[in-house]
């Protein structure tokens, strides 16, 4: 299939689904489920989209619980938080209006204070998702898409109580409603609103009791009470030229309860946080079934979160499955 025939099959520009981590690498580190993009459209039955993404988030500052920006680590007047992670993401159409997705990141997190550099690497949250399109219900406008997304985030690889912990270690469940609108052949827009239940289920994480005097910063198998969050996202894509798609995006995560307790170098998973991310990206498709993407996002506002700048680079492809189902 060449690009011309591909476009003829999809006259309304549809955004490519992005790997979940692409939307907010450091946010996943902080315990938040990453907010996937293009969540209003489902895949055609038997169609598979796969993406490999690399993310680099860096911060020298954090937002305190009262919103004031301050050094990420006391006395460190340089970047002190680094997240360098790889994400593998796949999405497949199961039925005409139902898609499933799976994501598995490998997280590498590095923080430092004035005396030590702490690094941890581990498999991150396994994310399993289902997307049910509501278009068949009939009330969605032409060129529009509406879908319900359900996602479970499973901390299968985490060792939570190391410093830094590459995740919060508990199961998250997220439900969202996403609406997308295609603008002829030149662009699309999408908004979504959801709610994330941060459960007290820690059974899947590989948390271990600390070894006193040996594990720096590890004092016990702590199971903090992470608060539920409201998640919102918006995205706009414009295709000025055939193989090039320009994107602008914003997202917000707001803990229902206000952040009251700050976080420190050794506690990169605050129980309550609020933040806004804004960014821009470009997707280039030099040949059919190959996408190259780059994004940058900043954190212009936050409460109890990392004030990071995030870069993401992705390589994606898509194909149809043949043979017997």
């Amino acid at each position: 299939m060449n690009r011309a025939t591909c476009r003829s099959r999809t006259p309304v520009l549809r955004p490519r689904p992005w790997a979940p981590g692409v939307a907010g690498l450091c946010l996943a580190i902080l315990g938040a489920v990453s907010s996937a993009r293009a969540q209003a459209w489902t895949q055609a039955p038997g169609h598979v989209y796969v993406k490999l993404a690399y993310g680099a988030a860096t911060a020298g500052e954090q937002y305190g619980f009262d919103g004031r920006a301050k050094l990420y680590a006391d006395d460190v007047y340089a970047p002190a938080f680094y997240d360098r992670s790889v994400y593998l993401y796949a999405e497949a159409g199961l039925l005409p209006a139902l898609s499933a997705s799976v994501s598995l990141p490998y997280k590498r997190v590095i923080v430092r204070d004035s005396a030590f550099r702490y690094a941890a690497g581990a498999l991150g949250d396994l994310e399993l998702g289902l997307r049910q399109s509501l278009v068949p219900l009939g009330f969605v406008p032409a060129s529009g898409a509406l879908a319900v997304n359900l996602k479970a985030s499973l901390p299968t690889g985490y060792v939570r109580n190391t410093v830094p912990a590459p995740g919060a270690g508990q199961v998250d469940l997220t439900g969202s409603l996403d609406y997308g609108q295609g603008f002829g052949g030149w662009g699309y827009g999408q908004v979504g609103l959801g709610y994330r239940v941060r459960t007290p289920w820690y059974g899947l994480s590989t948390a271990v009791p600390c070894q006193p005097g040996q594990d720096r910063g590890c004092t016990a198998d702590e199971r903090p009470d992470h608060g539920d969050e409201v998640v919102a996202r918006a995205e706009l894509g414009v295709r000025p030229w055939g193989p090039v798609l320009l994107q602008g995006m914003g997202s917000a995560v707001m803990s229902v309860a206000a952040p009251t307790v700050g976080f420190a170098v050794g506690q990169t998973t605050p129980t309550h946080q609020r933040y806004v991310k804004a960014g821009a990206g470009v997707l280039v498709e030099p040949v059919a079934h190959l996408g190259l993407s780059a994004q940058v996002q900043v954190t212009p506002w936050g409460r109890n979160t990392v004030k990071s700048v995030d870069f993401f680079f992705g390589l994606s492809t898509d194909f149809d499955l043949g043979g017997e189902p």
């Binding site: 490998y106 600390c210 006193p212 005097g213 720096r216 004092t219 206000a258 009251t260 700050g262 492809t317």
Partner: protein, 365 residues
């Protein structure tokens, strides 16, 4: 592009299971410095700053008080409520002590939240005398900082002290290391509790209320921390740092130890779970020679009353180790003059107790 469904599912499942089973995790801690050089007195600019209310009171702001606008109210179970100005406080006699302050948060988790300084202030009993504390009914003082931070102080910690035990009553402090307090350290007036943790030393002190209530009270207590203000015995290794690689041969291990309950009797080091061997404690005369300004402090000036090493003041120590190639475990423990030492384990972060400190050292030939 079309891919065989069965083959895709088979390879995908194998790949995913491989990733999941690999669990290729790692955890590293690398020192950025070879060791921490500790002078006996910590310069004000290097002294740790931790605001107890910052993490727990919404909208917290660091107070910016000037001496001319500051006042301290003493009320509650008193004969007469009084409000002191800074000039009133300056008119009262002062004393200066040397004290090591540490954060109650387990130092294994909060490295560096410790320091030693000279503190000059008015003994709190003189301030309370102006108001006339109702000793028959009052049991505790509730202490209030201008930033909203609160704490309490049992009156027994003021009026029932035994002078022979080397402890000084709490001070209403205006000066640190000979200079007026800086804003970060509680200017213009803070409390210093000689044998207490950092959270006992309420900054930007503006109100003292005498109460009959004997229950725990304060910002940290509300957060689950201990209401026991005296810091128990603890010790740390400052050099080499954890996971450092050093050449074989003589390695000087250094650190400090302190106790708010009594002075330090001994510090002992164990290599690879071997016998506990004594470390050498810093000599009083050598410390005084390096910091002659310490001569004005109560502990150094009243030699008969205060036994070296002083209570609530760190004892710096060294241990000469003949290091052989390999990976070694170095542990340190301190014993105070009550015979108390550190526990092998302590999983509670909020009790102020610190387990025996341990580091790993790689020795290369």
């Amino acid at each position: 592009m079309t891919v065989d469904r069965r083959e895709f599912l088979r390879r995908g499942a194998i790949g995913f299971l491989g990733l999941a089973l690999t669990r290729c995790g790692y955890h590293e801690v690398q020192p950025l410095v070879a060791g921490i050089t500790l002078p006996f007195l910590t310069p004000v600019g290097d002294y740790y700053v931790k605001h107890g209310a910052e993490g727990s009171i919404g909208g917290w702001r660091m107070p910016d008080l000037r001496p001319e606008g500051w006042s301290l109210t003493v009320d509650g179970l008193v004969a007469r409520e009084v409000t002191l100005t800074y000039a009133d406080l300056e008119a009262l006699p002062t004393v200066e002590i040397v004290k090591t302050m540490q954060c109650v948060v387990d130092s294994n988790s909060a490295q560096g939240l410790v320091g030693t300084a000279r503190w000059r202030g008015v003994p709190i009993s003189q301030v309370l005398a102006l108001a006339g504390i109702d000793r028959a009914r009052a049991r505790r003082l509730h202490l209030f900082g201008a930033d909203g931070f609160t704490n309490n102080l049992p009156l027994t910690r003021i009026y029932d002290l035994d002078p022979s035990e080397g402890v000084v009553e709490p001070l209403v402090v205006t000066h640190m290391n000979g200079a007026p307090l800086t804003r970060e350290h509680g200017a213009p007036v803070r409390l210093i509790v000689h044998d207490g943790f950092g959270f006992s030393a309420v900054k930007w002190l503006t109100r003292i209320t005498a109460v009959a209530d004997e229950r725990p009270f304060g910002t940290y207590q509300d957060a689950g921390f201990t209401d026991e203000h005296r810091s128990p015995v603890f010790s740390r290794i400052t050099a080499p740092t954890d996971n450092l690689t050093v050449p074989a041969g003589r390695v000087e291990i250094t650190g400090f130890a302190a106790s708010g309950v009594e002075g330090i009797e001994a510090v002992e080091v164990s290599i690879d779970d071997g016998p506990w061997l004594p470390a050498a404690l810093a000599d009083r005369a050598a410390v005084l020679a390096r910091h002659p300004e310490l001569a004005s402090t109560l502990q150094f000036s009243e030699r008969d009353r205060f036994v070296w090493p002083f209570r609530a003041v760190w004892a710096l120590w060294t241990f000469a180790w003949d290091a052989s190639p390999g990976r070694h475990r170095v542990r340190v423990r301190a014993i105070d003059r009550t015979g108390t030492t550190q526990p092998d384990r302590d999983l509670e972060i909020s009790d102020g107790v610190n387990a025996i400190a341990s580091i790993r050292v790689e020795v290369k030939s």
